[in-house]
Subunit: 265 residues, 2 copies
């Protein structure tokens, strides 16, 4: 929540807190995306929560450098609101995002076939269940410093964390906009590794998120367990596309995610 | 090609041709997206073609009204270029788009399992094969006024055109940027109808594209036949998400598409 505590600088500009320089060398992309979405939400009425966002990671974000979020009120329509946000460090855009907002309306409730839902994690397990080896050490560090709990579905050492059960460690209440920001944070976690072709998943190689899209389909509570599944779609020309989904423990599809990743050989 | 013949107004602003007011009451979204991408391409070196775009349809586009495209040069990086484009009619944004550009790099060539490829259409068939009834009349009109040929894989009357084979009726040469603009045009065709839950596909009800994302994975020639497949992911709260893909006739995944649609009951 501290991450989303933006300081209003007037004129639809906000200052976002960034971690100090003693942590990872880059800002976590999901954190910047969540902050940009939070800035957009500050300019939209509460009864119209975000239903989707599309963003690009333009430059690496640096810890310890002030992060400014500039919101453009693209449109306030009868049913939809559109906002464009630019995240800036040292006068340079590091991330941009367009988000769309829509109130509740009736409609058909249908979703594609639910994946097989593994049993929910038991209370006795802890984050150490992720496994000790390989690339996962990096992700363990990220997850451990994050407000989310992670329980990979496949036990033991694994180079990729997905599929896994995730939940926010502390409840944050029912506000759909805040819930969407929290889900945006977790939606970027470990997707880069999972975007690799199966035969390349063990490689330690430079990887970076290029873009990020999230569609929030149904109401949810990130403090409940959700199954986070990621599947690669294509790897070619040093880029890879991954699709991800978050299902509630009773199988409702609450969000879909797409991310393209730079993955050099 | 006439659609993509933009007039340079200086300062990274362009005027795009729009059809006259005697056709459909709204501009075709794929056409506006293709024009916005073409404007972005005019500001990027030829050796760095577009690899992805994310856009939002903000207001309905009106035929017969001048369309201005304003390009923001977000970043010219060592490996990637980012552009943001706003499409404007009467001083109001009707569409925005962020596109990313990347030159060829080596990397793993892998893709998810290829769908079963139906036989290529024979030369003796023509566009009338789409079938005479239902909603398809609307789409027949759109397709007939478009530069693309369409051959649905399932013969006879059908309310949705997908899956289908598509190709541009005339070759346009090898320029990857022009190819990407042409693919963007077709990537929006008929997706709205195919985003409906299976049980709702016969409904005549208000529908409109909300957003649109395209990832160009591999080199392609839109003048060759490509299999255009669209599958609904979720319908809820009057919105539906669809995912689509374009495969070459030898099964290479050339593009992935995602689109959310407003679908009132």
């Amino acid at each position: 929540l501290a991450l989303l505590d933006l300081e209003d600088a007037g004129g639809d500009r906000f200052w976002a807190p960034t971690p100090g320089g003693d942590g990872p060398p880059r800002l976590f992309g999901g954190g910047v995306a969540a902050q940009a979405l939070a800035a957009a939400c500050r300019t939209v009425p509460e009864e119209r929560p975000p239903h989707s966002l599309h963003g690009y990671f333009i430059r690496p974000g640096r810890p310890g450098v002030p992060l400014e979020l500039v919101v453009e009120r693209t449109r306030d329509g009868r049913s939809f609101t559109t906002r464009h946000v630019t995240a800036i460090q040292d006068s340079k855009a590091i991330f941009n995002l367009t988000a769309s907002f829509h109130g509740a309306e009736p409609g058909t409730d249908w979703q594609e076939a639910v994946p097989e839902l593994p049993p929910l994690p038991g209370d006795e397990e802890d984050r150490a269940a992720i496994g000790p080896a390989g690339l996962m050490e990096i992700f363990r560090a990220v997850w451990r410093s994050s407000p989310f709990e992670l329980r990979p579905v496949r036990p033991g050492p694994s180079l990729v964390p997905h599929p896994c059960w995730v939940r926010l460690a502390e409840p944050i209440g029912p506000d759909p906009a805040l819930q969407a920001c929290a889900l945006t944070f977790v939606s970027d976690m470990g997707v880069v590794v999972s975007a690799r072709a199966p035969q390349d998943r063990g490689r330690r190689a430079p990887m970076a998120s290029i873009d990020h899209a999230v569609w929030f389909h149904r109401p949810f509570d990130v403090a409940e367990w959700h199954l986070f599944s990621v599947d690669p779609v294509s790897n070619y020309g040093a880029r890879g596309l991954a699709r991800a989904s978050l299902h509630s423990s009773d199988g409702r599809l609450v969000a879909s995610i797409a991310q393209e990743v730079l993955m050099r050989p």
